[in-house]
Symmetry: none
DNA sequence: GATGAATGAGTCTTCATTCAT
DNA sequence: CATGAATGAAGACTCATTCAT
């Protein structure tokens, strides 16, 4: 029922705070091992607060996921903005994604986990389809423009997404590499793979 | 106590059976949502059987993971065997991996999940480092042979792994594409990205 | 998590209630045979209540033990108060202990059991050392005052404790003798043994 | 059913071995925390062996208890043998008991534990009544002979038992005192208390 | 809005005991 | 006689969720 309630400014802040804190805990310890009790006590509030703002732990997680996906997409779109060249668009998209992952490394874990449980996977899949569609469009444009070799656009787009997420996770999150360098490498590899 | 016990042939079979069944259930429903009770009742045995063969649910999961990693690597090594050309080795590795993922699609979920919880992540990471080292070697050889452009071998290797796992997951597992085609695309994209 | 939590008046009462009831059940049926389920259902509350107030069954038991030891000592100290004569102090201590055992016969079983398991024994031992030290002091004073024959004070003190606990257990608890009479006998025997 | 079976010499040896080993484990770790599995594996035999010789864990424990009580009494009787003087008999009994406790310190724990659970207490009590009756007889003789002051013989006898068991437990088992010295002290204290 | 308290179904795990071989 | 395997009831404990205040 927490969905429709009108929230005061303070209420909205609380809600945001809960989501942010829960996201970090979920990312660090995993969704299941992190209990609602842990979340609220970490924030120094009572359990009632949680259920005032969210219907359930699941719903909270879905909300975090949705927010993250939207935010990532917004950043990508904004980066590409009005660049006309398809290959350039792809490059800018890669760089924007990389940048977002740097700033939200912990959320990678959540995406990863979400895809492994049936109740969360659909939402995740939907987001990924959007991301894919975005990429596919650019790839198609690139093929039309002769900048990209002929091939199934979806497959190529998936390959790009694979490179981005893997490099982000392994190099930036695990190894702590310089994001700029990683982005350069990703761009180089992908553009090479497309041509 | 299940660690060092000598098992009879029947016992070894039971153990294998438990691991196989648990792996599928974990893959389908997730590790946490799948209870030990569900596993044993699905196999029509008593609950004690589980703890006769495994110390804990966690240990079973780790064992499944370890087995899977070993099996994948064995297949890769076997595929590459005595191929001398680095690029060819990479191609054969990609195809072998793809093949393995086709035959063990359900295990992808386990790998994915394992990386999200601290108690399983280390083992996973270890396996991935091995896979990476294998790939790095080929990349380095390729650079020396002038077949691969100059660049950080580790980063290139990671990019390859990203393409493989992402395409396997999204195209083979989700979309049910023809593995051959996917492998072709992966090879093309990666070789393009390397040159 | 029940350790440091601030409890409301109602909460403190529940806690006390749980400890009291558990103590009787442990005393009657033994620690191990008495399940947590039995305790909470006997009190007509949900299982969670138990773990809201105590970290574990073990911790509850230790807490009961600690409380009992403190209470017994407080009664002894209070009885002796400002009696100057060592022998008289010993007598008053014996009588106070006897009195306490009458009122808390069930706790004898707990002490007895506690000493047989390593995880509880240390706490018990600590309490007994305190009791011993108390007694030793009086014995030493008595020796100095020439009222008690020369001998190892610790050994004599132990003998007194042995008489008290054994008579309390066997005569008061098992046979239901009149506490006054038992106390008289204990005092007579001990003072005889000391001179 | 293990009760009536005719055992071969080897079988009787096995049985004795099981009882001895179980007794130590029970004494060290407690009856409940020590599992049948632990006992048999400690002896390097299969679980079937246990149930070949004993009907149940409980029965084994009772048997250990019974054996111990019989052995203790036998030693006491043997020590007193044909000593005619009541006070001397008491002294010899104390010394023999002390000696037995030295050699079987671990069994003290079992006696102690047994008295805290209803299913074992009766047997223990029966044994203690025998011990008490023995002591009472000597005390009565002593009173008749004018060597012991007038008083309830049962109470005096209990006091003696209390001193013995407490000193044995606390000084010999816990502190590791010299048994001879402890026996001397016990005798002195008790004879003093009786006169 | 918020808290501490309560619920109870469900989880993992243990273990005395039995059984097929 | 003996073993390894199996059973399943029972135990301690967790935790999402609800409720009284």
């Amino acid at each position: 029922m927490a969905d429709k309630r009108e929230l005061t400014a303070r209420g909205r802040e609380r809600r945001r705070q809960l989501m942010a804190y829960a996201a970090t805990r979920f990312a660090e310890g995993g969704f299941h091992p992190t209990s609602v009790a842990e979340i609220v006590s970490g924030l120094g509030v009572g359990k009632g607060v949680f259920y005032w703002y969210f219907d359930s732990k699941d719903q909270l997680f879905l909300e975090i996921l949705r927010d993250a996906q939207q935010d990532l997409r917004r950043k990508q779109q904004h980066a590409i903005a009005d660049e006309p060249d398809p290959l350039r668009r792809i490059e800018l998209g890669i760089r924007a994604s990389m940048q977002w992952f740097v700033e939200n490394r912990h959320l990678m874990n959540l995406f990863q986990f979400a895809s492994t449980e049936e109740r969360f996977a659909p939402l995740l899949r939907r987001g990924q389809e959007v991301a894919l569609a975005d990429a596919v469009k650019h790839v198609k444009d690139g093929i039309v423009a002769g900048e990209i070799r002929d091939g199934e656009p979806e497959v190529l787009a998936h390959a790009i997404l694979g490179v981005i997420s893997h490099l982000a996770r392994e190099l930036i999150r695990e190894r702590g590499d310089n994001p700029e360098d990683v982005a350069d490498a990703a761009v180089a590899f992908c553009l090479g793979g497309l041509r």
